[in-house]
Structure formats: C-alpha cells, structure tokens
C-alpha cells in the first residue's frame, strides 16, 4: 500500500542497522567500532612496543572492521570501486586510509616481531612506523569527518565529531590494551601509565560530549530534536545510561577513587578489567547513539505560506 507520509523531523534510517537483510544490515556498527579500536590499539602498542597489541590490532582491523564492513555493503564484490572518488568522498578516503593502515601496520608488526632482512633495515623500520602512525590517525578520525560533512543532518555537522571519533579511538585502544593484560602479562608493567592516559582521555571525551550536547541544544530545532532523542527520548538508555554513565562516569569515578587513595592498581585487576569492558561498551553505544540520532531538517517547514 502506498502511504501518504506526514513529515516534520525525520531520523536518518539508512545507517540504523535495521533492514531487511538481517545480520548484514547490523554489521555497520561493529565496523565503525572496530574501525576505532584497531588504530587506537595500534597507536598505543607502537608507543609501548607491545607486540601482542600490534597483532590484536591487525586482527581487529581485518576481521572486526574489514569483514564486517564488506558484509554490510550491498554489493561487497565491488568494494574496490570505493576508491574511485577520493577527491570528494569521505568513504573513498576512509577506504584509502584503511588500505594504507592495513599495509603499514602489517609490515611494521612483521618487522617488530620477526627478523626479516628487508624490513629490519633501520630506515625501513622507522619509515613503516611513522607511516603506520600517520595512517592510523587518519583512519581513526575519518568517520568523524564522514559525519561532519553531511550538510543534511545538522546534528552531525561539527568539527567536534572528528575530534570525538579520534579521541574515542585512542581511548578504546588503550582500554583494550589494558584489557589484554588479562590474557598476557607481556608489558604488564605499563598498566599504571596506560590507565593514567586512559583516565585523561575519558575525561576529555566526557568534556567533549557535554560541550557538543550544550552547543547543539543551543542551535537549530533539528539539533535540539537530536539532543532530546539522546537525552530524554528513545536513545536515552543507550546514550545516557550506556555511553555516558556506564561507559565514562563509572570508570572515571572508580579510577578517581583508586588514584585518590593511592591504591595499587595491580591489586584491583578484576575491577580494572571490568571498567575497561564498561568503557568499550560505552564507546560502542556512543557511536551507535550519535549515528541513530541524526535528524534531517524538514523539507518544507516555514517555506510555504498557504
């Protein structure tokens, strides 16, 4: 049946994860999540020379990001065509950044793990490291640019988006770095400094999110509709409860107590790992909520006098 729609503010429905293709349509959010965790973990692992982290980053990139993103596409066999419009398309640029990151991170990890004559030459090794870092930064930030360049959805149009996506990527990277100590004690001595970095990043991300919410709620009506949907509407459980409270406030509060009382983090391993799981869940829910909260301005409001 053809329905006549009544429209005012319409939420974007193409990137929601709800679709007729079932699980394949739900693959976008894991792709975006792992597309943040993977470069974040790579950067964290490069800084601390953490080989298991490098390998985990590569695995998350190829399986968590690459495979899920391919499954999401309507015609995955044509993914290579995605490089055709680098001049103007952020999806194209993202694909390019991912390819660069995949190649450089893999080569650097190989050179850091094994003795490979061609790769272990000093200059080559350093070049790969720098190229890996640059491509990881670009890859981590690109979804933010992708959203911020959507003119049609005012809630996404802000330079805070790329900053948020980038900082969340590093935050999630350090969180999974700490979490990996549950399985390997290699590099375990860096727990204190990693937790400190993670704590600062969480505070910065929380501040950035609060700033964005306040700024958006002071702008146009479409932004306010998005903010309302995130804070008192259908997404409030995910955003306020999951992303902000469980994902940021609880870890910040618990770590503040640990730091304030000068407690030994290694005595609170289980708590620390639990907090990192909370934080990662929060990052996922934050991205999910922001994407779901995108609202178009009405096509006709205030234009037509009848």
């Amino acid at each position: 049946m053809i329905r006549t729609e009544r429209q005012l503010y319409i939420f974007q429905k193409d990137w929601t994860g709800n679709g007729e293709r079932g699980i394949r349509d739900q693959m976008l959010m894991p792709a975006i999540f792992f597309g943040a965790v993977s470069p974040g973990l790579f950067l964290s692992s490069v800084i601390f020379d953490y080989i298991p982290g490098l390998w985990l980053s590569i695995t998350l990139n190829f399986v968590g990001y690459g495979l899920t993103h391919l499954l999401y596409l309507g015609r995955m066999e044509r993914f290579w065509r995605g490089l055709a419009n680098i001049r103007t398309s952020w999806i194209s640029r993202g694909l390019l950044f991912n390819i660069l990151f995949s190649i450089t991170s893999l080569l650097y990890t190989l050179s850091a793990t094994f003795t490979i004559p061609v790769l272990n030459v000093s200059g080559v090794n350093t070049t790969l490291k720098i190229a890996g870092i640059i491509s990881a930064i670009l890859f981590a930030a690109y979804p933010g640019f992708m959203l911020s360049f959507v003119k049609a959805i005012p809630f996404w149009r802000s330079l805070l988006e790329p900053a948020l996506f980038f900082l969340q990527a590093i935050m999630a990277g350090t969180a999974i770095h700490i979490l990996s100590f549950a399985f390997t004690k290699s590099g375990y001595g860096n727990t204190d400094i990693l937790t400190g970095i993670n704590f600062i990043l969480m505070l910065t991300v929380l501040l950035l999110i609060m700033t964005a919410l306040v700024m958006k709620s002071l702008h146009g009506e479409a932004e306010r509709v998005s903010v309302r949907h995130l804070t008192i509407g259908g997404l409030s459980t995910y955003f306020l409860g999951g992303a902000l409270f469980a994902g940021l406030v609880v870890p910040i509060f618990a770590l503040s107590l640990i730091f304030a009382f000068g407690l030994d983090l290694q005595r609170f391993e289980i708590l620390l790992y639990s907090l990192m799981v909370f934080e990662l869940t929060g990052v996922y829910l934050c991205k999910y909520s922001i994407i779901r909260a995108g609202v178009y301005t009405p096509a006709l409001k205030s234009r037509i006098s009848i």
């Binding site: 053809i2 006549t4 729609e5 009544r6 429209q7 319409i10 974007q12 193409d14 990137w15 679709g19 007729e20 293709r21 349509d25 999401y72 596409l73 309507g74 015609r75 995955m76 044509r78 993914f79 065509r81 995605g82 490089l83 055709a84 419009n85 103007t88 398309s89 952020w90 999806i91 194209s92 694909l95 992708m146 360049f149 959507v150 003119k151 049609a152 959805i153 995108g294 178009y296 301005t297 096509a299 006709l300 234009r303 037509i304 006098s305 009848i306």
Partner: protein, 214 residues
C-alpha cells in the same frame, strides 16, 4: 546547454499518488521501492487548518551532495543536469542516501515482489532489471527523454519525451522542461508565480521548483 527541471504546482496537487504509482509501474519497482513519494503537511490552527500535498523526488541538484559523497562514482550528473545512478558501479554503502537532504533514495535490500513466489509475469520481467544491493532514485525517466529527443521530440511538450509522473498527473500539477530556456513553460511559471526550491540554504541548487498555493 539544456538543464532539465520540474515544476510542482502545490495548488493543483491532490495527493492522489498517481505519480508514485505510474513511476512504479513504468520502472517496474518492487514493494517499498519508490522514486516519487507524496508527503502531507498540515498548516494553521483550528479552525483555519489546511492540508497540502507535496510530491517529493530526487531534486537533480546542480551541486548534488550525493555525487560528492558517492565513493564509487556510480552517481553521475549528465550534461543536461539529470543525476543518475549506474547500478553496475554502485556498491551499496548508502552514504548517498544519508547525505541527501531530500531523502530521495531507496536501497534495494532484497528482491521482493507483490505476488507470491516468482511474482507475476510483469514482476518476473521488470524487477530483474534492478540490482539488489544498489540504490534507486528518480532519474527523470532519462531513457524516455533520450529516446524522444532522438525522434525529434521536445521533452516537456511531447508526452513520449516527458517523465511518466508528469504525463500521468491527473491534477496537471507537474511540469517539465528546460530551465535554461527563458521561454520554456517551466521558466515562465517559476518567474510568474515565484517558484521556490526546498532547502535552498544548503546550496545544492535543486532542479525541482515548487509553486506556492497562493
């Protein structure tokens, strides 16, 4: 150089959806796939309330957001201003649908038919022309226009060279023609009746104009 445009007279639109149906029939579009949709808007306060209907489709913008966003280059803009999607190049990322301010694109997720099984003969023949996993949008019936022009017909004047929605509109609310020709019907209507475009503030320069009701 021609630039094809459409004009919608809001005073004449009845909200009958004939444009939607004729488009679906002509292009052989399956369930939930629409290129033209009619939205309803209420204005005013009781007892001075009025309803109006607004047919929406791809606005064939002069500076289309979808063209810039499309990573594969499947979205193309022809020299006559018509924006089309090459289904053989589309990879189905749906970024174009997200960036479109007019929500004019539909993703063909699965091959569905109105009739059970393989559908009726019409569905079996026509639905396979559209690839699942790609985007659909109004293309101003460009194949019809091209064919008409090759026969020496004038789009917007000769029915055989005019989009199906325009010729099927029972309220005669739709007009089609060359925007670059100041003597064309569309140019004259826009000028005479203060035609406006939707979301002009975004700077996409749509090619679909609307004539106010008063």
């Amino acid at each position: 150089m021609k630039r094809y445009a459409m004009v919608v007279d809001l005073k004449k639109c009845l909200g009958c959806q004939t444009c939607t149906i004729s488009c679906k029939l002509f292009h052989g579009l399956g369930p939930d796939i629409v290129r033209v949709k009619v939205i309803e808007q209420e204005e005013g306060e009781f007892p001075h309330v009025e309803r109006m209907f607004i047919p929406l489709r791809c606005m064939h913008c002069d500076d289309p957001e979808c063209l810039k966003a499309c990573p594969t280059g499947a979205t193309k803009k022809r020299t006559d201003g018509i924006v089309i999607v090459d289904q053989d190049e589309c990879m189905g990322c749906r970024y174009c649908a997200v960036v479109c301010p007019y929500q004019a694109r539909t993703f063909i997720a699965v091959d569905r038919r109105y009739f059970p099984g393989n559908g009726n003969l019409w569905e079996a023949k026509r639905y396979t022309e559209h690839q699942t996993g790609t985007m659909q949008k109004c293309d101003f019936c460009y194949k019809r226009i091209d064919e008409g022009i090759s026969r020496g017909l004038e789009p917007g004047i000769a029915p055989e060279a005019t989009p199906m929605c325009v010729i099927s509109c029972i309220g005669k609310a739709l007009y089609f023609g060359d925007l670059n020709d100041p003597e064309s019907k569309v140019s004259r209507l826009i000028k005479q009746r203060n035609g406006f475009r939707l979301k002009e503030e975004l700077g996409t320069e749509p090619s679909v104009y609307f004539l106010p009701r008063r």
